[in-house]
Symmetry: C2
């Protein structure tokens, strides 16, 4: 019950252990076509450029920035936790100009502040923000933020690492232009892959580039030669075959449950955990309307030794809680309820173990 | 028996399917320390900066170039196949100046030509070449090429994707400065990870950089905060936990067999296959002294339908042969004998199936 990697579905671990076939094998290519459709369902998009980057979520983030942002272009970066700051670093490393909209850790991104900054920077080309901040447990209003981006003729870049599969997310309906996620949060797949999707507008922007993408490995114009599914697939890099088996199975399980049902389960399990934590006297860092069901960020009660208690839980209960990050280190815990981890048996174990060791 | 991904050891598939633990879990960190030692053994190096990049071999290549090469710096790139050309593209994407030494496909890199070019370009900072060209089956003399690089005060960057574990490779003894490999060739691990190692000289060059590394994800100064093993590990990105289980097991199997014994087994199995192929009238593309035991590149006999025969072998014998690449497409096959794939039973199946369908 940490902030991810989450508990992986047993079926996903089993799928991953199937014999490795060639990345150009017809059977594998058939699976890749299914995988793409399943990713489109999870993202609620019909974007043809919807794939899994062959590396973790941080590489998915970099994929979005290096393909879209050209040197000198201005990007409004909303920062309300660790990952917004990482976005800023990505912008600078590809030669972009980052303008930051800052909100306190634990708060959502403020649409009012974003709008003000957009008015002050009419030359901005992009708006980047984190939908679900794993470092703080705050959910931002992606629909409103993306609408603002469109109004100001900006392309939106959305971090959905922790949101995909856990809370409502509708790429096409909300007008999200570029989005990346991770396999190891609410999809409960093994870590190491990053689903991404680019809208028609985003693809048009990539096609208009004046300079080559600085990364060969992440250059989507090359990667799409392998993923396109039209005619012959051209070799780009060796696909992580077994991890893709796992992602296929995790997405199949999500589709079998139903996306809205999965969102609802995360909400219901969160309510159960939140009620129990509140009874134990724990307070949440994030105000109620912005709380992520899948990442419960709570203050450690006074007098409790953070590291010692987390060690006890891990050693004696096989239970992981996440530590606070940055300024929150030693002051908070982050309790994950992600994908396969969002189950009553985990909540019961967590509440019982905490009640025994907090008293 | 394609050019990779190779057949994965059953034990490696089983290791990979173990339950996912957190990437900061003490058990996992203990495994990472072992993994590092096993990688050092496989590379025959004591370089402290020896890790596995969380992405395929192409990302390992990019890791070497983006960390080492700064804009304007000159890199001598030896091209004798697909991957030398990819190196050139990497140099240009990080703003370096590539000077190419070209040899025909199927030939090794010529030390004489390299020396001439080094004399013509005294301002060169790097020499980059592919040890074992997967696209052609040619082995280059890494020891001599790296010695030449040192004589001309250049840092060597070596592609060992297909050589690691399959042919003699001694990073420290040969003075290799930066090297990358892949998990899915002679290590017979699942695809998706890239072992890399940097010498003291390479690390010193990285530390003297004037400009930041253009990739956040591949920036080794950040990644080493997680892999260093000294004191507290700092979070960089979520490690691909299950793939690392697999790599640990594959390297453990290599160490159990013994590195020199593994090289010897690849040579012996190659001899067996080569004798059989020759009896069937097949000719090798690469001259005998430069042939890779793990990648047997042969001409398709006249009158044989390349695609149809490879389909038959795949469908009826569960046997993959690799197609020729580039100019060789339709003219050659690449028959892999890598890691767990380099076994008598595979060779018997391959020779028997070919003898039935070539006649």
């Amino acid at each position: 019950m940490g902030p991810g990697p989450s508990d992986v579905y047993p079926q996903v671990l089993a799928a991953q252990a199937r014999p490795t076939v060639g990345h150009l094998d017809p059977l594998f290519i058939g699976m890749m076509d299914e995988l793409k459709k399943l990713l489109q369902y999870a993202f609620q998009t019909e974007n043809p450029m919807t794939i899994a980057v062959s590396a973790p979520g941080s590489a998915g983030m970099e994929t979005c920035f290096v393909n879209l942002v050209e040197p000198g272009e201005k990007v409004i970066v909303c920062r309300n936790g660790v990952f917004g700051e990482r976005m800023r670093q990505n912008v600078e490393r590809c030669g972009g100009v980052a303008v930051c909209v800052d909100n306190a850790w634990g708060e959502p991104v403020s649409p009012e502040q974003l709008e003000l900054v957009l008015q002050q920077h009419p030359d901005a080309r992009f708006v980047a923000f984190v939908h679900a901040e794993t470092s703080t447990g705050a959910l931002s209003d992606a629909k409103t933020l993306c609408a603002l981006a469109r109004q100001h003729d900006c392309i939106s870049i959305v971090d959905a690492v922790t949101s995909l599969g856990g809370v409502e997310l509708r790429v096409d309906e909300w007008g999200i232009d570029a989005i990346y996620s991770g396999s190891q949060k609410c999809l409960s797949c093994v870590p190491g892959l990053s689903p991404v999707s680019f809208s028609e507008r985003a693809v048009a922007k990539i096609k208009q580039r004046k300079s080559p993408v600085q990364s060969w490995f992440l250059d989507q114009s090359l990667v799409m030669g392998y993923w396109s599914g039209q005619g012959k697939r051209s070799y780009h890099h060796t696909a992580p075959v077994n991890s893709l088996y796992a992602l296929h199975e995790a997405l199949r399980l999500l589709a079998a449950e139903g996306l809205e049902q999965a969102w609802q389960r995360h909400r219901a399990m969160h309510q159960l955990l939140a009620d129990g934590l509140t009874k134990l006297g724990l307070r949440f860092v994030v105000a109620q309307p912005y709380r992520l069901p899948q990442l419960n960020h709570v203050y450690i009660p006074q007098g409790v030794d953070d590291a010692a208690l987390r060690s006890t839980l891990l050693e004696h209960y096989n239970l992981e809680l996440g530590a606070g990050l940055g300024e929150m280190a030693g002051k908070t815990w982050r309790i994950g309820l992600m994908g396969y981890g969002a189950r009553r048996e985990n909540i019961a174990l967590c509440l019982q173990a905490l009640s025994l060791h907090l008293s």
